[in-house]
């Protein structure tokens, strides 16, 4: 047990690996954002277990957000080897959408065309940026939910922490 500042790296890494891998693998990602929230919950649970000092919802948000960021990197890296499967999924999605629509916009099937070398670097970073922002938000949400579920000391804590009188006006 750690008695100093909460050490968030290992819990965040565990939550990030869980969320990133399960979100990145086709078929398993059918539960939408639930895996990322689950990763945040796991990270908060591990943080509560490994910390003796009092924790609060902010600690849950922090460890969950870091878990979400790590999950985004893992999901994006996994998406490189799994890109052909993912593109096949998206092609099938667009083909099924074409069944609902009388006329698809010209050239829609070329959106998935990639250079022979695979994913381009700008495309990878655009995807990473968007995924990181949304995963961090979902991870933070999961972290706070996890903190509220697993941190029993939180239930006995006052609703809002007291603020220090450091900015009191001089007399």
């Amino acid at each position: 047990m750690n008695e100093g500042r909460p050490q968030i790296l290992i819990p965040a890494l565990a939550g990030g690996v869980l969320g990133g891998v399960l979100s990145g693998v086709p078929f398993l990602n059918c539960l939408c954002c639930l895996w990322i929230i689950g990763g945040g919950v796991l990270a908060a649970h591990l943080l509560v277990r490994s910390t003796k000092t009092s924790l609060n919802p902010g600690d849950g948000a922090k460890v969950g957000a870091v878990a979400g960021l790590l999950a985004a990197v893992i999901e994006r890296v996994l998406s490189i080897p799994l890109a052909p499967i993912q593109i096949a999924f998206l092609r099938r999605f667009m083909a099924r959408m074409a069944e609902y629509v009388k006329e698809m916009p010209a050239g829609w099937d070329r959106i998935f065309d990639r250079p022979p070398g695979g994913i381009t670097l700008p495309w990878f970073f655009v995807g990473l940026f968007i995924t990181a922002a949304v995963f961090a938000a979902f991870g933070a949400l999961g972290g706070v939910i996890g903190m509220s579920l697993f941190n029993r000391r939180l239930a006995a804590a006052p609703p809002s922490p007291p603020l220090p009188p450091q900015e009191a006006p001089p007399s």
Binding site: A61, F93, R96, M97, I111, P162
Partner: protein, 163 residues
């Protein structure tokens, strides 16, 4: 003490506005994707791709707009709209001077319908229509901002600053 608390409340209001703006943009993108995909250009398809890591996007499980599915399925779209309703209700129910987590039983009450419906569908016990998926999503989504804003507010706005 009062000035510190006022500054913390201001930071929290800023967090609230940023969260509301981000959620509004995200929800609008889900609605705009089918409308923009009807026009020439890659923006509509790009919006669909943006949602792909977060939603299965199956057309038969999504609401249609202009004959095309939204970028998020009915359940996810319900969660986004529910979260939007929660954001709108937050100032009335909580205010900006302090943060407090919801009660566990409230969370369980609002989570049980979506959990039961998703489990029933996954296990093949029944197959829900889009309206039921949407409604269970709204219920669950409505409580999420109360966790998100409490965590973020406690982390960024209300935590005592080191001098």
């Amino acid at each position: 003490m009062t000035r510190t608390k006022t500054a913390a409340s201001r930071r929290f209001v800023l967090l609230y506005v940023l969260t509301a703006a981000g959620l509004t943009l995200w929800t609008a993108a889900a609605v705009l994707a089918p409308l923009l995909s009807a026009r020439p250009g890659p923006i509509g398809s790009f919006l669909y791709l943006c949602f792909a890591p977060f939603c299965h996007q199956r057309p038969e499980r999504s609401f249609l707009l202009d004959g095309r599915p939204l970028a998020a399925c009915a359940r996810c779209f319900g969660i986004y709209l529910g979260a939007w309703a929660g954001i709108a209700a937050y100032p009335l129910l909580r205010g900006f001077s302090a943060v407090r987590l919801p009660r566990l039983r409230t969370f369980l009450l609002l989570s049980t319908p979506i959990a039961a419906d998703a489990a029933g569908n996954l296990l093949g016990l029944w197959s829900s229509g889009n309206v039921l998926r949407f409604l269970t999503g709204i219920l669950w989504g409505s409580i999420l901002p109360f966790y998100f804003l409490t965590g973020l507010g406690e982390w960024i706005a209300f935590r005592p600053r080191k001098t």
